[in-house]
């Protein structure tokens, strides 16, 4: 009961609201990619030698790779030479030390985005790291977190201040050779977030990052690394927006999660990159590699995502369930409207004994969009008593969209139990009529039914995100009915 009818009404009348450009001086590298560009990125960030070496290894490997084509998405070839691989809102030398030093125009931007950096952080107890184009701008609540021993900072800061941790964990979940987009990211990533939660610590607040692509022709290649040491807990939220532009912009992020023995990581995403217009012009190409490693026994990693934006989404947040009794979860709502294409799902790799995984995927297709769930559940021979349950539902709104389900189950253990169920349906005329007979408008009824369809996933989101997710869903489906 978090959204009133009024809210929805104002929301449905709103177009993509995050589509504005912020006019601030930015320091960008010219478009193009070669070893010099990578050296330049590394130099600007004053990185230690090991980072540059790692980037160069990735770049050299990337040159040998070809772009994957198996996903159920279609887009014109990307020319990787036309992209600028670095764009920072301010020169690095005078980066802000605290919020007071942040360019007021930038803060205004975040306000427009609905991320009141000050208020929200204080009221909600959320620590926010905002990544604008490629560089992390400000991290709130640093002091409070450091009292608890939690490190939450930009990736660049982590490289400078905690190189031993970065060196120990970077690329151990998503190796630099992993896949075309992850390898490109490894070579050119400019910033992102870093979290380390020490042994036995329950992180005292939700951690949050907002990503925004602003400059034209910039690729955003952020890299996030979260390490939860033994017995620790952390909940991390990620929000994404981008301005409206006619050209497609590339976003190729990598997220690595490491959960040691008894640790729990909850990773929530509300992705609302610019999806392009009704005719498919513009929008973000979102090619993301997200993977969590339940490295220790009794560890748990939970992915929750609400994907409403991007022209193309190519994303499979995964769990490697290495530890005994480890738990992997994937809760997803993916909405595709107009000309959007989404190919998203998860991988659950069961290695540890008694490892368990749950997959709940809700796909909504409208307009001329194509929405595919692609998921792999693999049970290795040593994963005795592994359990998986997958529920995968698609909702179709309109005649010209597509909903596709491609689950892969590979089971090599005789004590494992794997169950997959999938359904596809449209909003029934009976349900609509029932709501309308009770005085609820058609638009509201659709929103209500769609939100009901997604409830199992929204329930997994932290409270303030759940409201935002519902609102986003309604905005994304605007005009889908009628």
């Amino acid at each position: 009961m978090s959204t009133t009818t009024d809210d929805i009404e104002t929301l449905v009348n709103r177009r993509y609201k995050h589509g504005f450009v912020t006019d601030i001086a930015s320091d960008s590298l010219p478009p193009g990619l070669d070893e010099d560009v990578i050296r330049a990125i590394s130099l600007r960030k004053k990185e230690p030698a090991f980072m540059l070496e790692w980037r160069l290894k990735a770049y050299r490997h990337w040159l040998t790779m070809t772009e994957p084509e198996w996903a159920h998405v279609h887009y014109p070839r990307i020319n990787y030479r036309d992209i600028s691989y670095y764009s920072a809102p301010k020169s690095d030398d005078d980066r802000p030390k605290s919020l007071d030093e942040v360019d007021p125009k930038l803060l205004e931007t975040y306000d427009k985005l609905g991320i009141p950096l000050h208020e929200r952080a204080r009221l909600a107890g959320v620590a926010v790291d905002a990544v604008f184009d490629s560089v992390s701008v400000a991290t709130t609540f640093k002091e409070k977190l450091s009292e608890a021993g939690v490190i939450f900072c930009s990736f660049s800061d982590a490289v400078l201040n905690h190189p031993e941790l970065v060196r120990k964990y970077l690329g151990t979940v998503v190796p630099y050779r992993d896949n075309f987009f992850a390898t490109l990211n490894s070579a050119v990533f400019s910033d992102g977030s870093f979290v380390y939660v020490p042994k036995g610590v329950r992180c005292p607040m939700e951690l949050s990052t907002y990503f925004r692509i602003n400059a034209a022709n910039t690729g955003q290649f952020e890299r996030t690394l979260i390490v939860a040491d033994e017995g620790s807990h952390v909940s991390y939220l990620e929000g994404c927006t981008a301005p409206m532009r006619d050209e497609n912009q590339l976003h190729a992020a990598v997220v690595e999660l490491v959960a040691l023995e008894g640790a729990q990581i909850k990773y929530s995403t509300v992705q609302n990159w610019y999806p392009g217009d009704e005719n498919g012009k513009g929008g973000i190409y979102n090619f993301v590699t997200k993977r969590g490693d339940c490295r220790g026994d009794n560890s748990k990693i939970s992915w929750t995502q609400v994907e409403t934006g991007s022209a193309i989404t190519w994303k499979y947040p995964s769990c490697i369930l290495r530890g005994e009794n480890s738990v992997g979860e994937f809760y997803s709502v993916a909405v595709a409207n107009n000309m959007q294409q989404a190919d998203t799902g998860t991988k659950m790799i069961h290695i540890g004994r008694n490892s368990r995984s749950t997959i709940v995927s809700k796909g909504i297709s409208a307009g001329r969009a194509q929405n595919a769930y692609r998921g792999l559940v693999r049970v290795m021979p040593q994963a005795a008593n592994a359990r998986n349950h997958t529920q995968c539902d698609s909702l179709l709104i309109g005649k010209d969209c597509g909903a596709h389900t491609f689950p892969y189950m590979e089971v090599r253990n005789a004590t494992a139990k794997v169950e997959h169920e999938a359904t596809t349906s449209k909003i029934s005329a009976d349900q609509l009529f029932y709501c309308r007979q009770r005085g609820i408008s058609e638009e509201d009824a659709v929103n209500m039914i769609v939100n009901g369809f997604c409830k199992q996933v929204f329930r997994e989101l932290p409270m303030e995100f759940a409201v935002e997710a519902q609102n986003l869903l309604n905005v994304s489906l605007e005009g889908a009915v009628g």
Binding site: M1, T4, T5, S428, A429, D430, Q431, F433, Y434, C435, R436, Q437, R438, G439, I440, S441, E442, D444, M448, I449, N451, G452, F453, C454, K455, Q456
Partner: protein, 250 residues
């Protein structure tokens, strides 16, 4: 309040209502009876504005307005309520949420302030107690996993909360055991009011033992072939529908 004149309607190529005339005044309770396929549910759905039914002739006036040119939600907001024969399940949509949204939609139409969650819950709980309904049903999905009896009680609860001027209850008594039937009847009777009209669509006379109608109409072949008072229902129960048809044809 409700004036139906020579109403004709079809679904697909099948003519179902063939010239139905009916007048309902405030404060009255009408029972519409008839055999299967006589058009009872069609009448209820046409009044509520179901899009599968095409009106091919006649008129429906409600409080002096032409009901037929309104959307279903407009009709609902000005006080037309349909208790469905088969209430649909809507997974994941909270029962209380739907009901509160419906109540506030109506209140907005009438320029009344919306009720907040607290007021709403208080109201809903009162009405549920009256209907002897399990309070837990409020927080379940709309009709999701409800038993037949629970679904029907839920319809009456919605009616009690929305306080319509014209309530049409389509076979609300079917599939109920005797306790549920009594509870439903109690709910209906509590809503009898000089300003409100109730139309009971039913196959059997059973419900009429508990909710006494002012008028009884027999529907056959898409029109009303006989009207009378409560005694007509008793005669029907004894002699069957063939009897009315014979009398009507004679």
């Amino acid at each position: 309040m409700l004036e139906i004149k020579n109403l004709k309607a079809r679904i697909g190529d099948t003519e179902i209502l063939t010239g139905l005339t009916l007048t309902v005044n405030p404060g009255e309770v009408h029972a519409i009876m008839g055999p299967n396929g006589s058009g009872k549910s069609t009448l209820a759905l046409v009044i509520a504005g179901h899009e599968d039914y095409v009106v091919t002739g006649g008129s429906v006036q409600y409080m002096g307005r032409n009901l037929l040119e309104m959307d279903p939600e407009e009709r609902a907001r000005i006080g037309v309520f349909l208790g469905f024969q088969y209430p649909v399940e809507i997974a994941g949509v909270n029962n209380a949420y739907l009901l509160k949204a419906a109540l506030n939609a109506k209140r907005r139409t009438h320029g009344e302030p919306e009720v907040d969650a607290f007021e709403f819950l208080k109201l809903a709980r009162e009405k549920m107690a009256l209907l002897e309904m399990d309070q837990a049903l409020l927080n379940r999905g709309v009709n999701e996993g409800f038993s037949g009896g629970e679904k029907k009680r839920n319809e009456i609860l919605q009616m009690a909360v929305l306080e319509p001027r014209l309530a049409i209850l389509d076979e609300t008594d079917s599939g109920l055991d005797i306790d549920a039937l009594k509870a439903v009847a109690k709910g209906v009777n509590s809503l009898r009011d000089p300003g409100r009209a109730i139309v009971l669509v039913t196959h059997y006379q059973r419900l009429l033992d508990y909710v006494e109608p002012d008028f009884v109409h027999v529907l056959s072949g898409g029109r009303i072939i006989r009207s009378g008072d409560k005694s007509l229902a008793i005669q029907l129960e004894e002699k069957g529908y063939d009897w009315v048809r014979e009398v009507a044809n004679a």
